[in-house]
């Protein structure tokens, strides 16, 4: 039977490679492959150049080695967070990845569950090994040890994570099958997770006075690292640290010394997964169903509908109706869950505001909020996809609506713009509230601090226009090159897909520059005139004018794109892989 499953794996790999090669006949994949290969070559070539430049004298003391301690600390925290998230939130850790066809063929065949578990574990090795190899290629120049220790370390680490997530998934399914009594039996792992997180939180709270008095982010991090390596918090993080330590081993001997604990964790997780095999079929079938219904929806439907963001009137422009629909998409699947997830952050922020007095950790938080706001403006539209990109899977339905293409485009881009703008405004507000104690040298900084509210207001005015322009470009790519946009379903993989994404990123930023230029020019002229008349440099007024120009451009772009959308053939949308 194992031979049969091996045959299935072999055929799958062979046909996948064949298909990848075949699709290179399409220019978008060929161009993507070329760009992807160029990127890889450039990244590796630069790594090699850096190594040569660093010279043999510093061998073993390269970048990652220099920060091995922090790397290990952050890695251990991330691993703990992954484990905690898998237990606390259902949906995290879909480690059983059978397709609907596999469920149909294999689960009805005379194959034992244990064989299927083995098959699933073995099959996942391909992805894990490939991911480890790519990471090794990128990191080996800066890694402390040899290439193979990094590769082997990453492989063991990812394998343990994979097995653990699979075990969590199976365990949760098994317990859920027994209703309330089953869920009640889940208290032990949940209690362990809560106790672990609580121990870390207690260590931080116990040291809070010192943490808030420290001057910079570096000192705060070093103190946190010290806390994570000592006492009860150190004990909690020990297995995760042991796992994170393996890929960072500086020599073969150190790798050998670091190996036993990860191997023990691997064996324990493996045994645990095999013991949980009773729920395997149910978990696999459930996940296969969710993957199959993923098309056109970000997640599988949840039970019970949350309230809508606002009541949709029977009269009004279609744009509002589409905005309403797309806001529901966010609200229904993310609102409560997101709020619960954000709650700890809000609490921490509250503590910072009430105790930090604008110094120490508060200043660090304020300094983080500003780049985060910039990140939201520049990249937010790539993450908030509740627009045409999400709706491409429903294009056939959308095209039956009695709505002009431009109206459809405008309606589609409103929701992500609103969401990203709200996030940006929140971050700007946080930076304004927390940043009163920010200290830095230089006359420029003093000038900025003196007028910071004007600058923040100008950014707040510009933010929606910039986000709107980015969202319009994203949707333009979906309209003009629908096959390039991964609308729904599984995310495209491979070097060619990576190249496509890089290319689209470049187009995005280029278009942003082109879109901003006219507004910036008009605003600059206005600012010059005001300065000439009054002797002061205005900030808010030019921002308003620039924002108005950008919004005007977006309106015109929507009109043009709408006409293209009306002519777009549904068959141009990429079929699912």
């Amino acid at each position: 039977m194992f031979g049969t499953l091996l045959y299935l794996t072999g055929c799958t790999i062979k046909n996948r490679v064949k298909r990848r090669l075949q699709r290179l006949r399409e220019p978008r994949y060929l161009i993507g492959l070329i760009v992807g290969l160029l990127y890889l070559w450039f990244a590796l070539f630069r790594n090699a150049g850096n190594r040569r430049a660093a010279g043999a004298a510093v061998r073993g003391a390269a970048p990652i080695a220099a920060i091995a301690g922090p790397f290990q600390f952050v890695g251990s925290l991330l691993l703990l967070a992954t484990a905690a998230a898998a237990w606390l939130w259902p949906g995290v850790g879909h480690a059983v990845t059978f397709s609907r066809a596999e469920v149909q063929f294999l689960f009805t065949a005379p194959v034992t569950r244990r064989q299927l578990v083995h098959y699933e574990v073995l099959r996942s090795q391909l992805g894990i090994l490939f991911g480890s190899a790519i990471a090794t290629l990128f990191l080996r120049g800066g890694a402390p040890g040899r290439g193979w220790t990094l590769l082997a370390g990453l492989w063991v680490l990812l394998l343990v994570v994979r097995l653990h997530l699979m075990g969590v998934r199976l365990r949760r399914t098994s317990l859920a099958q027994h209703g309330a009594s089953g869920l009640a039996r889940q208290w032990l792992p949940l209690a362990v997770i809560v106790a672990a997180v609580g121990t870390l939180a207690a260590a931080v709270i116990g040291d809070w006075g010192r943490l808030t008095s420290l001057a910079g982010a570096g000192e705060v991090f070093r103190e946190l690292q010290r806390l994570g390596g000592t006492g009860a918090a150190g004990a909690v993080l020990w297995p995760f640290r042991a796992l994170a330590r393996l890929p960072l081993a500086a020599s073969t001997a150190e790798f050998g010394r670091a190996l036993p604990v990860p191997l023990l964790l691997l064996a324990l997780n493996y045994a645990w997964v095999l013991r949980s095999d009773a729920a395997f079929e149910e978990a696999s079938a459930e996940h296969a169903e969710k993957r199959a219904t993923h098309r056109g929806a970000p997640r599988a439907a949840v039970k019970g509908a949350a309230p809508t963001p606002f009541t949709l009137a029977t009269d009004g422009p279609p744009e509002t109706a589409i905005l309403w629909k797309n806001l529901i998409l966010i609200g229904r699947f993310a609102s409560l869950r997101t709020l619960v997830r954000l709650l700890p952050i809000v609490i921490v922020f509250g503590i910072i505001v009430s105790t930090g007095g604008g110094r120490g950790v508060a200043a660090v938080a304020a300094a983080i909020c500003l780049p985060l706001a910039a990140f939201a403006i520049l990249m937010g539209s790539q993450m908030a996809r509740n627009d045409l990109r999400q709706d491409l899977g429903n294009l056939a339905l959308l095209k039956t609506w009695p709505v002009r293409g431009a109206e459809l485009i405008r309606g589609e881009v409103l929701a992500p713009t609103a969401v990203v703008t709200a996030a940006t405004w929140a971050l700007l507000l946080a930076s304004a509230v927390l940043g009163s104690g920010l200290r830095a040298g230089g006359a420029g900084w003093s000038l900025f601090m003196a007028h910071r509210y004007s600058y923040l207001a100008a950014v707040a005015i510009l933010a929606p226009a910039l986000v709107l322009s980015q969202t319009i470009v994203q949707n333009a790519l979906a309209v003009l090159f629908p096959a390039w946009v991964s609308a729904s379903g599984p995310r495209s993989r491979g070097i060619e897909a990576m190249g496509q994404r890089l290319l689209m990123m470049a187009v995005l930023f280029l278009t942003l520059v082109v879109a901003v230029l006219p507004g910036a020019l008009v605003a600059a002229v206005l600012a010059g005139v005001v300065y000439w008349l009054t002797g002061t440099v205005p900030v808010v007024l030019p921002a308003l004018v620039a924002a108005a120009v950008i919004v005007g451009e977006c309106w015109l772009a929507a009109e043009g794109l709408g006409r293209v959308l009306e002519r777009t053939d549904v068959s141009a949308v990429e079929p699912q892989e």
Partner: protein
């Protein structure tokens, strides 16, 4: 009401529909039948504006589906074989969205009547993930009927429905036809077509091979040689297995 003239649809080098013409008047229920890959779905998709014709014209209520798309689509309803619903909208929210898009004022009253007619009462607040396939089909149909369209297109309308649902669906289609709507039903269920359609259009390899009432088809010597049932006529007309 629906006027298809010299419709041609080409995908790459493959001609799915070739110079296909037919009309559906108010009150007519036309059965569009043909073997797999005959071009039925491509034809329906061109009529409702999902796909643009490669050549030819489609008008609905006198409005060209390409040049006056909004006006034409306002009179149309298309019920696809695979119901397309937004997984994050409830049944009632689907109806509200549709009402807003098609400018239906008395949405609550109409929705209530439709949900009752389609045995969906009590499911107003259910998400598609909580509904069976047949129920999803009914939701899509409720959305299609909400604005009282003058032209209705059904692609395999009985798929996924239970026996009672099938009976109600047939009644719904017939009642819409009697109320004056132009209806096209595309189906492989020949007994359904035979039972409810007033006229039959047979398409094979993208080309129209017959357009007549069942009685007229039965009267044609070259088609009726094999027998008088629609199934026998269909096999004879398409010269192969259905």
């Amino acid at each position: 009401m629906i006027d298809v003239q010299h419709l041609t649809k080409i995908y790459g080098e493959f001609k799915a529909v070739d110079d296909f013409s037919f009309r559906v008047g108010p009150g007519e229920i036309v059965g569009l039948i043909g073997p797999n890959g005959a071009g039925k779905t491509s034809t329906l998709r061109c009529i409702v504006g999902i796909q643009a014709p490669s050549a030819g014209t489609v008008t609905v209520g006198g409005h060209d589906i390409v040049k006056q798309a909004v006006e034409a689509k306002r009179q149309l309803a298309f019920m696809a074989d695979e119901p397309q619903l937004f997984s994050y909208l409830t049944v009632m929210e689907h109806l509200r969205l549709t009402a807003r898009l098609y400018r239906v004022r008395d949405v609550d009253m109409r929705a209530k009547a439709l949900l009752s007619e389609l045995q969906l009462a009590g499911k107003e607040h259910a998400l598609p993930g909580e509904l069976s396939r047949g129920m999803k089909q009914k939701v899509a149909i409720a959305c299609g009927l909400l604005h009282d369209p003058a032209a209705l297109l059904f692609d395999e309308p009985l798929t996924g429905l239970d026996p009672l649902g099938i009976r109600h669906m047939k009644e719904t289609i017939v009642s819409r036809g009697r109320a004056g709507a132009a209806v096209i039903v595309s189906s492989h269920l020949l007994h359904l077509v035979e039972e409810i359609c007033t006229r039959i259009v047979i398409i094979d390899r993208g080309v129209k091979v017959a357009d007549a009432t069942l009685a007229e088809l039965q009267a044609r010597p070259e088609l009726s040689a094999a027998g008088s049932s629609l199934e026998e006529i269909f096999i004879s007309a398409t010269a192969g297995e259905p």
